[in-house]
Symmetry: C2
Subunit: 596 residues, 2 copies
């Protein structure tokens, strides 16, 4: 048995679960975001996988294994090759000895859709749901937190195929329940939330967030339990605006007021009286640059995920397939197309033509977007397109026509009122995304020509869903939710072993004999047990047992003379003396109770 524990926290680790998994000898870093799963960890991962497998099989889904190497052709068919290898750049790409491009699979919509298009002919084969448990790859910008955001990690991903949206929704609901079951069985507190579908796409998606302070995602929820969403996706009612103190359209000198705070202080008005105009630059895969002005109420922030989705939707009208980059234009990029420095901090809802260098082949296209909060503003304050000047008392129409694209672009935040019930207030929590389920609809089947023939003999595109859960992430999240100063506290369902027998003195043959007898009996009863017969001090063994977090500990110590051993529960540190012949039945009872 490879059992090597460290006294010191590893330098690479920032969060408790990462520190503990390295210190307790579960994982070992091989490169940035790349870990070896040592035998203890592998047992945990196998248990999490088995729970996932059981819940998937119970819904009628079937396990398979798809290739990790994926020909680029497939990704070009779906239109995602550039998005995944260039824009988001999260897919590792490589070339083989014939210089054919391959991607290392971060996800498998393209591969499964190819299989479906070749193998599914008739409605009689539907619905069909295939899943796999597999190592995935992502070239993360900033790998961190151990297994939480690695470049190589284990996922279960499943893909379902349907005759129509109703059938898809039924499986989507089954998956919702299956995901709740799996995460609960792993012993985790979580929240299911509305989510942004990102580069996967489709008509709706839901994330399963394991609650943890170090979670990279913010969740907004109401206490009535009727609303919860990832902040990337969340909508809410903003605060009501204050009445505007400006009744007349007027250009005012407002020196040194590039921020909303400084402006409101100077004009003695509320941020809700201001229309803020934010510049972005979008680059599409056909090389087209689009300059974006987002107009939004001064007290609100732009949600860049929502903005990105809107710009992806607009790709068609620019004859582009994919959005490659969305950035705030800096001095360098501005210099390429602006004829004079932009009055940043004083931008109007429309950019005068003379800011854009005419007849330049790098001149960007231009689009104006307005958030809902900007539409209803009356007599608002806004930039004058001139440094140190604002307009007050403005209204949509002249000189600022209301943009055609009115969309939800604002960031919801804690304290906002809920849309479903304005008496409910949004609260904030942090979560680790452990699962994500999507209604893909016909996005991939249409792009790749995957159809079936219905009862009437007509060919129709397949409806698809996809469903992912992070197996290695879930395992580490379990540690993040359950540890103390002494180490990890595993739930019995996913602990590498259920019990550990610590022999304080291995040269005492009575102790060794009792330990070995119990060891055999416990395994026979289905209690997976470690026997610590190392030649170490008892104190070292106790510390190690606590650190690696085995749920139940048995000590063959002094009370053996009275035919008893000490049995301790890791989570509570409570211990009791039990007669030797009651140990197995007691542990078996505890374990059965914990596993149901």
């Amino acid at each position: 048995m490879l059992l090597v524990t460290l006294r010191e926290d590893p330098a690479e680790a920032e969060i408790p679960s990462h520190k503990l998994l390295v210190r307790a000898g579960y994982i070992r870093r091989i490169g940035s975001g790349i870990y070896a799963y040592l035998p203890l960890m592998w047992r945990v991962l196998q248990k999490v996988s088995q729970i996932v497998r059981e819940e998937m099989n119970a819904t009628g889904a079937q396990e398979c294994l798809l290739p990790q190497l994926q020909p680029s052709d497939l990704w070009r068919e779906s239109g995602r090759w550039d998005t995944y290898t260039k824009a988001e750049g999260i897919m590792f790409a490589l070339s083989d000895r014939q210089n054919r491009e391959l991607g290392l699979g971060p996800t498998h919509e393209e591969v499964i859709t190819t299989i479906a298009r070749e193998m599914i002919r008739s409605y009689r084969q539907l619905p069909l749901h295939l899943y796999q448990i597999q190592t995935k790859f992502r070239d993360e910008i900033r790998p961190r937190f151990g297994l939480m955001r690695g470049r190589e990690f284990i996922m279960k991903d499943g893909y379902s195929f349907h005759v129509n949206e109703d059938s898809l929704k039924k499986t989507y609901q089954d998956m919702d329940q299956a995901y709740r079951n799996m995460i609960s069985r792993c012993g985790l507190a979580f929240r299911a939330v509305e989510a942004d579908s990102g580069a996967i796409g489709g008509s709706g998606s839901q994330e399963f967030m394991v609650l943890a302070d170090i979670g990279e995602d913010e969740i907004l929820y109401t206490e009535d339990g009727n609303y919860s969403a990832n902040v990337e996706k969340a909508s809410s009612l903003p605060a009501d605006p204050q009445p505007s103190p400006f009744e007349t359209y007027e250009k005012r000198e407002t020196p040194n007021t590039p921020t909303i705070d400084s402006l409101c202080k100077f004009l003695n008005c509320s941020p809700t009286n201001v229309l803020k105009n934010v510049l972005y630059q979008a680059v599409y895969d056909n090389g087209m640059t689009v300059l974006v002005i987002v107009s939004i109420r001064g007290d609100q922030e732009v949600n860049e995920v929502k903005l990105q989705n809107e710009l992806v939707r607009l790709a068609d009208q620019y004859n582009a397939n994919a959005l490659l980059a969305l950035t705030v234009p800096d001095a360098t990029t501005q210099a390429k197309w602006a004829s004079k420095p932009l009055p940043v901090g004083y931008i109007a809802p429309d950019l005068d033509d003379d800011y854009i260098r005419p007849a330049s082949d790098v001149a960007p296209r231009f689009v104006r977007l307005v958030d809902n909060t900007g539409v209803d503003l009356k007599n608002f304050v806004t930039g004058a397109n001139e440094t140190n000047y604002h307009i007050v008392g403005a209204n949509w129409g002249e000189p600022f026509p209301l943009p055609k694209q009115v969309v939800d672009l604002r960031t919801a935040k804690a304290g906002d009122r809920a849309i479903h019930d304005p008496s409910q207030i949004l609260h904030s929590a942090r979560g680790i995304e452990a699962g994500h389920i999507f209604q893909l609809g016909t996005k991939y089947s249409k792009a790749m020509g995957a159809t079936y023939t219905n009862e009437a003999g007509e060919e129709n595109p397949l409806y698809m869903g996809c469903y992912g859960v992070g197996v290695s992430r879930l395992a580490q999240a379990a540690v993040e939710q359950s540890y103390d100063k002494d180490g990890i506290i595993w739930a019995p369902a996913i602990a590498p072993y259920h019990a550990i027998i610590t022999v304080p003195n291995i040269s005492d043959t009575k102790q060794m004999e009792a330990a070995e007898t119990l060891y055999q009996q416990l395994w026979q009863a289905g209690v997976e047990t470690l026997l610590d017969d190392r030649n170490e001090r008892a104190g070292v063994k106790f510390k190690d047992a606590d650190l690696i977090g085995i749920p139940y500990r048995i000590v063959t110590g002094r009370s053996l003379k009275q035919g008893k051993v000490e049995v301790a529960v890791r989570a509570t540190h409570q211990s009791q003396e039990l007669p030797l012949d009651q140990v197995v039945s007691t542990l078996k009872q505890w374990l059965d109770a914990a596993l149901t």
Copy 2:
């Protein structure tokens, strides 16, 4: 259930097992050498994996999972980066977003040695044996035969660490037995053979060859069972030479005799009287080119694997780390350094200096090697370094000094006498390499500084072994050894399901009821059963059941009126009528017998 069978053989497939696995819906090609394992195949792979796992665990080895992405730094430490990404070129290499080079693991000596060097301190932790079952990658020159030579495939690879060679040998022997057990349990006929260690290295290795006509490897063996080896490695006693008819050293005109055949016909002598001199060109990783002349008896062929090993051994004296290429020099490469055309077909055991362009910076170094069969020749015939001329009656000494490097470079072949017992003749068979076990010794631990402290407190390099078995290859090899004109014949131990219930007429409720009852009962008894209740003609269902190769078939047909069903054995096509209440016990009995 995804059950899609094809009537036609797939165009991509050349060998029976590949055709059958595609036709029966087990695998689907996604790209060259890249396959999806569909649900039926995944069940087979899981069963093979579980057999492997059980045999490994029984030896005390522990399962883990190592990363597939491997930092190039580790491979530079062991000196294999160039060999694997350039010379053999079988490792896929890629760059991440920080332009750091990574390899996609074809094998894991570097990763495991890094872990050992960090975690193993003391002899008290040894021996230690870690293994994993994992998808591996190889950028094959010619991917083919489905899963047999794919670019992505599943392997079990294990690595053991020891205080000394004795301990290593003990585990090596345990692995020999474990590998025999695994392959036998999968129902396969095989042969364990001496093998070349190739780029893995080490002091000894053994391959496990599944016997099959389409096998890519040739095996030589004796019928007494005491010798078997891969032809790459095999040694034997060559036939005795004939006495030479030439007693005097003489240069003879031998027009149009560039081959041994034509020469012997012209001179009326035996090929065993001839010393053949073969030219090779070796390129090392430091850019050095070495011209190699191999002298060997005329009736023998050069074994290029042995030659390559010899040239790798010589790398040190050329200050090189790795041999990048070994080729027969063609006109283009010769033109770079030869001062005049080489007299190919008439080469002498030594190349005159005037063939090599002097003082050229591309002038190759020069090495002469002689095979054992060339050393004892008397009065031999050999080239005169002049087209259409040979020397007869030559002897080592003047003008041809015996090369310093006398080595075994000949290809053993069927019909040769065995070294261990010259009365035994070598026979030939073809095999599929399913497993390979290696005594690595200290090759990697020395290169990478992986040491342990012994009882005396001294630091020593770890002794290592490594052990690989091809899980997906084994699964396909099982098909190659067991099929008939109707399809696959799985051994029960690795069949995707043990039994299939075929309902000839699904609109007959009696048939369906009986089938469903049996289905429940069989699963409860541990007989994994498929229920074919598709709306298809009975003939289609029978054909599919035979094609996918489920060991036992139950048909709820006409005899149901007498309370009986037909039970057929796939391998023999023998069937019998059994009363309903005997079906489960009979199948259970057959299955138990087959699994032990």
